[in-house]
Symmetry: C3
Subunit: 339 residues, 3 copies
């Protein structure tokens, strides 16, 4: 895609070169996100962080990413009566709001809404999640994390092994990972779920058409024995008819340090899109994994800031100017740098 | 009025010289709002954007205007339990909040509340709408838009023709326009409404006392045949006893491209305070007008940013310093500049 | 305590030297809070202002304090569905959110939650109030105000007289004041409350162990006759079984100008943690005191900004750099400076 001025609506718009470009720019953002340097390259720019549905961490992550580039953030947090309730079209909303900012992140409960909004926007629009449709920055941060974790173990996105675990039927993140994996080569994918929550056939087909090996199973232990990455998900409770039905599956696949030690190869990376359900009955990833250095779940959310900074820098066309405006950080950063 | 340190509470406080001053400053803000230049004249200043009633676009417009001058924004979005619920007076709230910022925008559901608040504030207060009483920045952006649209057709605020259409009884914006028009000369005003929703007599009297021509009618087509501006409004549903009663009038005056072509003079400007109701039963302004270059509704909201920047610059007394601190914009602005 | 990189969780963590240090730094913030100078010492830093329970003034005060040091603020206002509702632990929330900012202020309805959160945070955490447990910045601003008001009358935190008035059983602020007073010497404390709402014994014991004189009474007038400071509180209605029960005590101790003139020594300082209940039935401090120069309640909230600026400057270790980056303020500040 042509990044400057473009919209980020779906992972389908990226080819492998685009992914490489985003990840290279994300790498270059690390000194700023870690506060080893600071940049004001977007000083004077305004982000419209428009969340028509609440999502604290995605909203704050996008906002902080924009701040880290030097820009300002105006936002809505999803609980206000909006003009939409008075019968305003997304076209009108987009025309109006795009007059207030230099880029817009939009989250909205309705699938397809962000793309419709983008057609009328005068500034780049980034999809912050539109219902069960797309959440491209989450998909990118997952893939970016996989890439970095593999690299730390001397491997790459071509030719590696991953287990996707849990609610594969409703989990948007695992669907997106499958789609993105088709851009790479020779991946062994193990799909671990209850039979009733299997990965939809279309994604299995796409993986196989891309030449990947796919194994489907409902057994956890054997599946995580020979993989580079485990990616666990929570039950998407809101998608089930009742809490009771969701409870049938909750806690079915629990990974803890004992199981990890018994079954996994050393350095098997543990991922999860978060939030993980830490209540006794769920516990997809036990808290006793918190000291395991292969637990990558907080590196995932940290990487989210890098990926979002990269997307802003690309669509606002300032990638080449970031380092030129770099300055020293003047305040205490000890806690962050020792991580 | 004396702008530096003053409050902006009501359009009644402006004489013609004040209006001219605000509009001249608004004109000078255009390069900044269009991102052809950037200024940091309010770098270090804080706006308290205090919305005790939700209004996404007004809130974001004020906030962005302050950001465009280089300032920071702290805000409340109207959904929190406030100290007011614990019996705090507006006097106390104002004394406290004015210690946190350099200027305050306040929206509040209760008529007169913002003026009461202002008496105790130590910093300039701008009324962002107090119930059905006043919303002066909306009135100013409407008049500013009328001025600019007329100027583009070689006319001025003295000696022009306007049709105000729809719910003239409850529409706060059309009342404000009538009041502001009394500052100018020789305006022909056509008031188009159902008999039950006629313009209150006091506003008609004011227009006539100012020497303007006023025609009242319930017919749309003939009324828009010989005017420079049409200004449509939605039914103020929240002011009716029931949704059913509001529905009696909803959709009574619909303007679309076919009607426009058949009845209007070329270059007749189409305005609306937004949001327009785009549902099938309402549709005051049809979507097929979106490509009509005389549709000025999004220029109105864009002008709102200019007017609000002007008000901030005036009450904080930085008008003369804006251009001195001007800098280049470093990021992609293509989508905006080609509008 | 060792401030750089530290958490501010409880007043119990401070010794007298810490208090002195905080207040000295707070003093040095006054030119910035009063807009006589501006600083950008935290330019590029991000505050995560995480309010999981609404509190407009505390939230805005912290946010403005961070802005006044030049930093940016990302925030949540307490009305969103958070990941916590999906079963996320405070540990996870802290690990994630601390990746987005350089410091975090957290308010949460559950006692102890902020301290638990801090154990997992990678950046300094400031307690913005955790249920009925602690609200250390409020306690510090009260004590800082007492110190400044005493100093204006030639006295100090050693050897002065204070009356604490109202709901002493449930009022968190008066408990904190008692704890802080144990760091000083020879204070005469008069505790004025209905018998049913007496100060809990543990606080009385602490005061006496510190060598202070304590008198308990249910009579207002005689108690305020010979003190340097009166500190009134509202009934903590939310802590009573019913509104009716709270009403038994509401309005029991009303201070107004007539009572003040009749009973108090000249220059007796009037304090209140705010909001004061200005409804007719309550009225702990009558509005006719508003012109009394000894009414310090708005100086309290102004001092809150100074104290919060000081805490940020200390934990982020920029105290010595603030003045070095000082600049002139360019905008209108007349209303503020004439206070």
């Amino acid at each position: 895609m042509d990044f400057p001025g473009g919209h980020i609506l779906s992972i389908d718009q990226f080819d492998r070169g685009d992914i490489d470009r985003i990840f290279t720019v994300a790498d270059s953002m690390e000194p700023y996100a870690q506060r080893r340097k600071l940049t004001k390259v977007l000083d004077g720019a305004i982000l419209g962080n428009m969340f028509f549905e609440p999502s604290t961490r995605t909203r704050v992550s996008f906002g902080s990413a924009f701040n880290l580039l030097g820009g300002e953030v105006r936002e809505t947090t999803g609980v206000e009566n909006s003009a939409i309730a008075k019968g305003e079209s997304l076209y009108d909303t987009a025309r109006v709001l795009s007059g207030y900012s230099d880029a817009i992140v939009m989250r909205h409960p309705q699938a397809g809404s962000v793309a419709e909004f983008a057609t009328a926007s005068r500034v780049p629009v980034l999809n912050g999640g539109d219902g069960d449709n797309e959440h491209p920055s989450q998909a990118l941060l997952d893939l970016y994390t996989i890439k970095k974790e593999l690299a730390a173990n001397g491997r790459s996105l071509d030719n590696f092994r991953i287990a996707l675990i849990g609610d594969l039927k409703y989990g948007r993140t695992v669907h997106s990972i499958c789609k993105l994996l088709t851009l790479f080569k020779r991946v062994q994918v193990t799909l671990v779920s209850p039979t009733e929550l299997k990965m939809p056939e279309q994604y299995v087909d796409q993986l196989q058409s891309a030449g990947h090996t796919v194994v489907e199973t409902d057994q956890l232990e054997e599946s995580i024995a020979k993989v580079d990455i485990t990616y666990s998900t929570r039950i998407q409770e809101e998608r089930f008819a009742s809490r009771d039905e969701a409870n049938l599956y909750r806690g079915r696949y629990r990974l803890n340090q004992a199981i990890y030690t018994q079954y996994c190869e050393p350095n098997t990376v543990i991922m999860h899109p978060l939030p993980r359900d830490s209540r006794a009955g769920a516990n997809e990833l036990d808290n006793d994994l918190n000291e395991n250095p292969n637990l990558a779940i907080f590196r995932q959310t940290d990487n989210g800031v890098l990926v979002r900074m990269a997307l802003f820098a690309l669509v606002l066309d300032v990638v080449d100017q970031v380092d030129r405006s770099a300055r020293e950080v003047a305040w205490y950063t000890g806690g962050r740098l020792t991580q």
